[in-house]
């Protein structure tokens, strides 16, 4: 961590987005994570994506649980709403918030401990509900905040800093999410912003649950030889299957794409994700094929990355629940509270 605060001074030629804001306007508190932490890089990518998508800070909601990863919501979009919840319970809080106001952008930040150990059930049910949110899973394979024990995502054979070897199979959030039916599932690496930023931008425009599992080396407890989540190992075992470029709505796509290699996918709001297949035989719209390839690459100790599965047609939480289009705080009081007579009418249905 650092005690030195990033000064407010900025480059005078910093580009501005549609709201007239610069990247620096999307920053927040000083990070207290270890210097070189992958999470800080992911924070920078989220800042870049929020800026590029011209999100109004007051329309952003940041949610997190407990862990190093969950601290990071304090480090981006200072003007946003935020809720730092109980360990593993971020999806519940996100569900409540989203139910009350569907017109905000929900960004949940969690880690491999928060999502895959204590909060695994919550994580699964958020997917099942198809909550309209971006779910960033900052995945470093260890519990950094409690000094580096193996987490549930640690790879078989991975060695701890002090020599212990992991013999339990990992939970792969990407495979899990695809199995559970998520409509936007991606994996990336904190050291590859060229891949990560367009993924976050696209995830923000995806209608429904969007998972981005981000390999994020723990520079203090999991960046040594024998680790399978170090900067070096991640770079060496990193295989990009599908590179996604995000094209904002109302921007004309001027590049011609070769069939079979590139595939534009239109999202519900008219924006597009253009998928460039780095691996030609991979089809990110075929769920079972995607799963099969993931399992196969995992056996080879390779991290398959990119936008691994996408289905833009799913119905999200509000559509499934038949809730009104309006946020609850915008509804007139009479509609929100129809009175004692209406209540007893509802209750009579259960008698």
């Amino acid at each position: 961590m650092t005690f030195m605060v990033k000064p407010k001074v900025r480059h005078p030629d910093l580009p501005k987005n549609e709201l007239g804001l610069t990247r620096r306007d999307y920053e927040a508190a000083n990070s207290t994570l270890c210097a070189g932490c992958g999470h800080d890089s992911i924070t920078a990518a989220i800042i870049e994506a929020c800026w590029a998508n011209s999100l109004a800070p007051q329309n952003v909601v940041k949610l997190s649980g407990i862990g190093c990863s969950s601290k990071t919501t304090a480090y981006f979009v200072g003007g946003a709403h935020g809720f730092n919840s109980v360990h593993g319970r971020m999806p519940s809080v996100a569900t409540g918030a989203n139910a009350a106001n569907r017109n905000l952008h929900y960004i949940g930040v969690s880690g491999d401990g928060d999502s895959l150990s204590i909060g695994l059930g919550q994580f699964c049910h958020a997917i099942r509900r198809n909550l309209n949110m971006v779910y960033m899973l900052e995945n470093n394979g260890v519990y950094g905040l409690t000094k580096g024990q193996f987490s549930a995502s640690a790879d078989l054979g991975s060695i701890l800093k002090k020599g212990d070897v992991n013999n339990q199979p990992p939970i792969d959030p990407v495979q899990l999410a695809i199995t559970l039916g998520a409509g936007f599932v991606a994996r990336s690496f904190s050291g590859d912003k060229a891949q990560l930023v367009p993924l976050i931008r696209a995830a923000m425009h995806h209608k429904g649950f969007a998972l981005i599992d981000v390999l994020s080396p723990c520079v203090t407890f999991n960046d040594h030889e024998g680790s399978t989540r170090s900067y070096t190992y991640s770079r060496e075992h990193y295989e990009e299957a599908v590179h996604a470029d995000f094209v904002a709505p109302a921007r004309e796509i001027s590049v011609a794409y070769k069939e079979g290699e590139s595939l534009p996918v239109t999202l519900h709001d008219g924006s597009q994700v253009v998928l460039h297949k780095v691996d030609n035989s991979y089809d990110p719209t075929d769920r079972s094929a995607a799963l099969a390839r993931l399992v196969e690459r995992q056996k080879q100790h390779e991290y398959l990355t990119g936008l691994l599965y996408i289905d833009p047609e799913q119905q999200e939480f509000h559509e499934l629940s038949g809730t009104p289009d309006t946020a609850l705080n915008q509804l007139p009081y009479e509609l929100l509270n129809p009175g004692a007579a209406a209540l007893s009418k509802v209750l009579s249905r259960y008698r």
């Binding site: 650092t2 407010k8 001074v9 005078p12 620096r24 070189g36 800080d40």
Partner: protein, 597 residues
């Protein structure tokens, strides 16, 4: 492209914009830090090492450092470097025992002609080495143009006396009232091993227009200023026209006001963008209600019965093409009544006292042929410097000429070869003290430039020698020093340590770092997070990084040297290191260069 060679002393020197821009390469950030620590005497001595006259230059320097200052690019206004220099002179303690003690005489004698800044610098550098230096001065007091042409309301005599005294006290012999009337005689019978000509550019330019002759009320600017400085001239007419709009013109108009002029107009031929005067000198003159009239080209002096009554001008109109004049035309004529005219349109060097058969060659404009590096004339052992060498510049240039000429003279008299000189060098030393601790104050202070207080308009005209600028108090200086960005605390990168975690890139407040594929400089300049468009500023390119073979690049343009890259780097691939530039003077050994590993 090839990785940047940071062991070349110029690379880090250029990053310290002020030091690079200063002809004498004063270590500005270091003396500013010394001021911040209240070490005014040390700050004065550090200044004096490079620029010899901190008290004088802290008032009247042309300050090439300030337009260069990085703070001026990051915000709007540069650090008040010049006025902080004055602070070191104003607040310093006793210098007793702190100046070099001359070595025993080495038996070699050096003559300096003229007691201006360049000659005095030669004396300052050579006297401590054991040389017997004799300075010949035409007038009764030393200082040259600093004394005769800079009015005492800008530069008090006492400051001149003190700083010149420090040099003379090192055993320099000053012969005032002793003009050198024959170079031949000096060379043949003077018994000198080397001669330095620092006689300035004492000839003011004439303006030969109809009506010029037959009146006493048209003055040559620098001559007039000299007669004011020495008390020969103590009044002037009510209405004064100054022709020309350089710094001499500013001194003339402000001096005229102090001699009793009621209305002073500075007549400029071109628009304001073409004024030669420094912006701050224009401001000071205009604050005293001097009127600056543009687009008036002198045509004739108007006299009636031998008495000057006015001056006729062509009124000009210019068609501009950006900053260039595309065409000009006369759109009218006007006569402005006046009692005196002061011509401040330039000056030249003049050497009627140098015989032309001594092997000292002159070009067709009677300018001596001087080597730009050694300052040697075409005759061995004879050197030129200051305005005498290349025409009018300013004091700080004269000082640097003096340093280089002194180095030449020393090399020449030691080895017979003045072209072989110690090379400049750079040393780097880390400023990391421990966890989160750096041996410099790296907070960015978002404060605005402090204004120097001035004596009120009512008070300042009461006497000609009331110094208008009061200088910073210790408290004001303590605030202003915080604006310095410590550009000499360099970001030093060791590529083999980098794990490409992006921490430095993410934390940099001014977006000057990027990791990218290698390419040509042109390509790389477009790949920085904000395009690196300022080609005058360096682009640092690392060697290939270990994990991906990409390169780290840094646009030096707007780096605020906050050290966050080094603070955030988990492997200490970035470090903050103080660069000390060795700029050799006479007697210095060859500098040892240390490279970025």
């Amino acid at each position: 492209m090839n990785p940047t060679d940071t062991s070349h002393p110029d690379y880090f020197h250029k990053v310290v914009d002020c030091q690079w821009a200063c002809p004498a390469h004063t270590d500005v950030p270091e003396y500013i830090r010394l001021i911040a620590q209240g070490r005014y005497t040390d700050a004065y001595l550090l200044n004096r090492h490079s620029n010899v006259f901190p008290g004088i230059l802290g008032r009247v320097c042309d300050r090439p450092c300030e337009p260069a200052c990085r703070r001026g690019r990051v915000e709007e206004k540069p650090v008040a470097i010049c006025r902080l220099k004055r602070v070191t002179a104003d607040l310093k303690g006793d210098l007793e025992g702190l100046l070099p003690k001359p070595l025993p005489r080495n038996g070699k004698r050096v003559a300096c002609i003229g007691a201006g800044p360049s000659s005095l610098t030669v004396a300052n550098d050579l006297a401590p080495l054991g040389y017997e230096v004799v300075v010949f001065e035409r007038s009764e007091v030393p200082g040259g143009l600093m004394r005769s042409n800079i009015p005492s309301f800008r530069l008090p005599q006492s400051v001149l006396d003190e700083e010149i005294g420090l040099i003379l006290d090192m055993g320099v012999e000053l012969k005032t009232g002793t003009p050198v009337e024959s170079m031949r005689k000096l060379l043949e019978t003077g018994g000198f091993d080397a001669v330095f000509v620092g006689s300035g550019a004492p000839k003011g330019k004439e303006l030969n227009l109809p009506g010029r002759q037959g009146t006493e009320r048209i003055h040559i600017g620098i001559d007039w200023l000299e007669s004011v400085a020495f008390g020969h001239q103590d009044k002037i007419g009510d209405r004064v026209l100054i022709i020309g709009v350089g710094n001499t013109a500013m001194d003339c108009c402000r001096s005229s006001l102090r001699l009793g002029a009621k209305s002073v107009k500075v007549m400029a031929r071109k628009p304001r963008a073409f004024f030669k005067a420094s912006e701050w000198e224009l401001e000071d003159a205009e604050a005293e209600n001097v009127e600056i009239v543009i687009n008036h080209s002198p045509k004739a002096f108007v006299t009636e019965g031998g008495k000057l009554v006015g001056m006729t001008f062509d009124v000009m109109e210019y068609e501009m093409n950006g900053t260039q004049i595309k065409s000009e035309k006369i759109i009218g004529e006007t006569t402005i009544p006046c009692d005196d005219v002061i011509l401040a349109i330039g000056q030249e060097n003049a050497f009627p006292w140098i015989e032309r058969d001594l092997g000292i060659e002159f070009d067709k404009w009677s300018v001596p042929k001087v080597d730009a590096k050694t300052f040697r004339s075409t005759r061995a052992g004879v050197y030129f410097g200051g305005d005498a060498a290349f025409g009018p510049k300013n004091i700080i240039w004269a000082v640097e000429h003096g340093h280089q000429a002194a180095l030449s003279i020393h090399q020449f008299l030691e080895t017979g070869d003045d072209a072989t000189r110690p090379a400049p060098g750079v040393t780097l030393s880390s400023r990391k003290m421990g966890m989160h601790e750096w041996a410099y104050k790296n907070d960015y202070a978002p404060i605005e430039r402090k204004l120097v207080p001035h004596v009120s308009l009512k008070e300042r005209f009461k006497k000609i020698d009331i110094e208008v600028e009061l200088g910073f108090t210790a408290e004001q200086a303590a605030a202003e020093v915080q604006r310095c960005l410590n550009c000499d605390i360099q970001t030093v990168f060791t590529s083999k340590l980098c794990i490409e975690c992006d921490a430095c890139i993410d934390v940099c407040p001014v977006d000057c770092l990027t990791i990218t594929q290698d390419g040509t400089e042109e390509e790389l300049r477009t790949r920085t997070r904000v395009p690196a468009v300022n080609a005058n500023q360096g682009l640092y390119v690392s060697a290939a990084l270990p994990q991906t073979g990409r390169v780290m690049i840094k646009d030096e343009n707007l780096c605020v040297h906050c050290g966050l890259c080094a603070e955030r780097c988990p492997t200490a691939a970035w470090d903050m290191q103080k660069s000390t530039i060795q700029w050799p003077h006479a007697g210095d050994k060859a500098a040892v260069a240390t490279a970025r590993s």
